[in-house]
Symmetry: C2
Subunit: 211 residues, 2 copies
């Protein structure tokens, strides 16, 4: 396609697990862009204008047009800059399966994850079990493939990279997959350092009066 | 594309508001298919096999492959049978906007709708206000277009057709849109009759011991 890589701006927030997807995709495709860090406690006028419906990150601004919602931005990036490192398979059925698993990740991991973090007692135990089941299902889908996308990273890999997990005992293949992903420079360079995330969580707790 | 229209099966449930989307899309594109009615209280082995992850309708089976999740099925149908009545605009930006609004409908209408039906007192009042705001936002996006898709029905129109609403006073343009949609035979023939829905709700309440 004739689209250039100029005029690409990402309204981002470095600890965002959704932002990682976009950063990795842009890196894999070698697209130059300007990352503008948002302060979620004092959002910029640009963010409020560019995502007037949800008023939240992430937003990709390309040639003045804004594209919102993490998975939709990934699809857009893949369509506009398709030639280098395609993220979707070209066959409609394979494509639908990639869409299905990315949707599964978004629907299941975050809601169940929240229950694990915020739940107590029996509810928390139940949520933990659900959480493990979700990852086992994903491990089943990964099977013996190198990546969910096959030999290369694809849409599902990018959707899942954001999820930090310590499930080595239950899902060894999935943990091996995460390690493989981290060996790809476009991935490891796009992820914030765990120490920084930890410091940020402490700061946030302090800000919210929880620590 | 060289794909035929044979071997298309839809595992459906007639009152399903999600199923309407598929039925309309298949009708618009003139695709012959076999609709198999599922009993949600006693799901078929075929359904449990074909959607082993979520174990629920809707499922499109095409040449033995199963595609699940309402919006993903719509995308698949549009990709395989693209020539007749395309549902997506061809430009990536316009396409991303259609994806954004369909996602908005799925995320907002059903969760808020549930709060309206199941909430009480102040919570219900709050949910009702939210509900109206959602439709006003959609009315803003519709603007003066005939359909969300422009001169023809598109992805967003099909995503929204499923929502029954009586919001004439607040959103006259949206109500006029719904009426326009109903004048299209592929739409009106794909929707269950309100009387049947009413009878079904009564039956369901009875089954669940609520009436």
């Amino acid at each position: 396609m004739g689209e250039g890589t100029k005029n690409v701006v990402l309204l981002d927030f470095w600890p965002s697990s959704f932002g990682m997807r976009q950063r990795i995709a842009l890196a894999l495709k070698g697209i130059e862009y300007e990352a503008r860090e948002e302060n979620l406690f004092d959002k910029s006028t640009l963010l409020l204008e560019m995502n007037s419906v949800h008023k939240k990150i992430l937003v990709l601004i390309h040639n003045g047009n804004s594209i919102c919602e993490s998975l939709i931005i990934l699809e857009y990036i893949d369509q506009v800059w398709h030639d280098k490192y395609p993220l979707f398979p070209s066959h409609p059925y394979e494509r639908s399966q990639a869409g299905f698993w990315a949707d599964y990740i978004d629907k299941k991991i975050y809601s169940t994850g929240r229950k694990v973090w915020s739940g107590k007692g029996e509810d928390q135990e139940k949520a933990k079990k659900e959480f493990i089941e979700i990852f086992k299902t994903l491990e089943g889908e990964l099977g013996d493939k190198t990546y969910f996308g096959g030999d290369n990273l694809g849409f599902v890999d990018l959707a899942l990279t954001c999820a930090n997990f310590s499930i080595e005992a239950e899902c060894p293949k999935l943990v091996a997959w995460a390690k493989r992903c981290m060996q790809i420079e476009s991935v490891s360079n796009s992820l914030p350092h765990p120490h920084n995330i930890y410091a940020y969580v402490l700061e946030l707790k302090h800000k919210l009066g929880l620590a």
